[in-house]
């Protein structure tokens, strides 16, 4: 193996092992920043020693042992200044002596440790952006550079965000217990929000030319799947995973050969990934089995499943989708849910019915700059042969979107309205 080969293998080991490593260390040292530092120390040691000595049989255990030694040294050095550190140091040493099998020590508390880390990195005391960055870093195993590239911000910005969030967590003395029962259910929405945010960033980029950044979708899916195993009794977790699996199943069908976006009803369903659809429907079944009253993610997953189950757009069960949006509007009312409900109503009962609802949303301040409002309105007007008005709406929508490919699509639809409303050529 060449040096580069070994380095790439070490990267791979790090990606697989680092979340468990940091999670275990966080439990031991009760500080996320320190935990990451010790984990990084272990990585540096691996980069120095493994190229010559080879990758150990159990790389996770090697990293854990090395990180723990660093932690013990650190606390020993700091005992002069801090009683608490002295205690921690002694505690660690004691554990070191009584648990010589590091592999077992790693596995013992892994589920709890990781759950703890998830809830810490998604703590509501942090800003959403900070939560996203910290989660991708600590649990996703992404480098600062990778996170920066995915979110199109400078690396320094992400680095700062992570540093500041660790400081906030230390400063606010966030408790390190794993939330359970009622407390877990209360804290869960902030975790789900972070994961879905990451997924959406990958699924529909709002700036830049790429319509999708698939890697982020995979990261979000992986985080969701991890959470589903850690908190299997929570239906909304399974709902979120189901929603993401089903949405991701359309990845290959969503863009055309020149990168142009293709709307759901025009997609080739042969390109929908059946493995992901099967997994999504299975997750949805798990969610539905856990409780009769579906939450927002389960409802959205049920809506996505309506599309996923049908072979052709014509077979879509629109009345069911209308009913599901009705339920969603009850528990999480929002103009965006209303807009989606309007689209579903237009499909179930005709464009005029849908337009009524959309017109009612015209005054919504929060939708002022939302390009999908005029886009939907344009679509309905076009179906009602009101081409002149439709064109104006598509042009307005095009001016509001920051995604270049979407803008192109909207302008093309405006153009088709102009053509449709043009007087026929004289024979």
């Amino acid at each position: 193996m060449t040096a580069t080969d070994t380095h790439r293998s070490i990267d791979a080991v790090w990606r697989i092992e680092s979340p468990r490593l940091i999670a275990s260390l966080t439990r031991m040292v009760r500080d996320v920043g320190l935990a990451e530092d010790f984990a990084q120390d272990a990585l540096v040691a691996a980069l120095q020693q493994w190229p010559a000595a080879g990758i150990p049989d159990n790389p996770g255990a090697w990293l854990m042992a090395t990180a723990k030694r660093r932690a013990i040294d650190h606390f020993r050095r700091n005992t002069v200044f801090d009683r608490k550190h002295e205690e921690l140091g002694r505690e660690l040493e004691k554990k070191e002596r009584t648990v010589p099998d590091f592999a077992a020590a790693l596995d013992d508390n892994f589920g709890d440790d990781l759950l703890r880390l998830v809830f810490i990195s998604c703590h509501p005391v942090l800003t959403t952006e900070a939560r996203v960055a910290l989660t991708l870093r600590l649990i996703g195993g992404l480098t600062t550079e990778e996170i920066a590239r995915a979110f199109l911000v400078p690396e320094a910005t992400i680095a700062q965000r992570i540093v500041r969030s660790k400081r906030t967590l230390s400063g606010k003395r966030i408790p390190f217990e794993v939330p359970r029962g009622a407390e877990l259910s209360v804290r869960l929405p902030s975790v789900l929000e972070v994961i879905y945010l990451i997924f959406n960033e990958g699924y529909s980029a709002t700036t830049g030319d790429d319509w999708m950044r698939p890697a982020l979708c995979e990261d979000a899916l992986r985080l969701g799947r991890i959470l589903a195993e850690l908190a299997p009794q929570e239906p909304e977790v399974h709902g979120l995973v189901a929603l993401m699996e089903i949405q991701a199943s359309r990845a290959k069908a969503r863009t055309g050969p020149s990168g142009e976006p293709i709307l759901l009803f025009e997609q080739s369903r042969a390109l929908w990934d059946q493995l992901l659809i099967r997994r999504g429907l299975a997750e949805l079944a798990r969610a539905e089995n856990l409780g009769p009253a579906p939450g927002p993610y389960v409802l959205q997953a049920q809506i996505a499943a309506c599309h996923a189950r049908t072979r052709t757009p014509e077979e879509t069960d629109w009345p069911r989708i209308v009913a599901l949006y009705g339920q969603l509007a009850q528990i999480t009312p929002s103009p965006i849910v209303e807009l989606n409900r309007a689209v579903a109503i237009s499909m179930a009962s005709g464009p005029a019915a849908g337009l009524e609802l959309v017109d009612a949303l015209a005054a919504e301040r929060s939708l002022e700059n939302y390009h999908l409002l005029p886009s939907v309105r344009g679509d309905l007007l076009k179906k009602l042969s009101r081409f002149h008005e439709a064109r104006a709406e598509f042009e307005r929508a095009a001016s509001l979107t920051r995604n270049a490919r979407e803008r192109h699509l909207l302008l093309a639809r405006a153009q088709s309205c102009a053509t449709a409303s043009a007087p026929p050529h004289p024979r």
Partner: protein, 124 residues
């Protein structure tokens, strides 16, 4: 990126040691918990299977066992990994389990990237 791991070995008559089966189970559970494993399974002995071959313009079905074969497929798994290196590393750890729990066992895990819907091999 989606990968398939295909485990191949000489078809043995004895069952693998329980310690190995337990360790493989656990590795599978861990990978599922880590969100990387999408599915997979072990394959029953070739005696219970069949082969259907197209050759010389003829399709022939033959029942197992296939004792003349040097290697048979023992099992497979599908994963979602960030890179080929991650996939290889996972396969290495899988093989290390065999080394530890079934001394003398030899075999190979082939690591292959899977095509998504609509994907085709690059043309030359």
């Amino acid at each position: 990126m989606r990968y398939m791991m295909i485990v191949k070995h000489a078809e043995k008559q004895e069952l693998p040691p329980k310690a190995l089966m337990d360790a493989i189970d656990k590795m599978g559970q861990d990978a599922t918990k880590a969100g990387t494993m999408l599915g997979g399974g072990g394959l029953a002995p070739t005696a219970l299977g069949a082969r259907v071959r197209l050759s010389g313009g003829k399709v022939t079905a033959t029942d197992g066992p296939f004792t003349e074969a040097k290697e048979v497929i023992g099992g497979y798994a599908q994963f979602e990994f960030k890179s080929k290196e991650d996939a290889v590393q996972s396969a290495v750890q899988f093989m290390e389990l065999h080394k530890k729990h079934w001394p003398g066992w030899e075999g190979e895990t082939e690591v292959r990237q899977m095509y998504g819907p609509g994907e085709f091999p690059p043309t030359a």
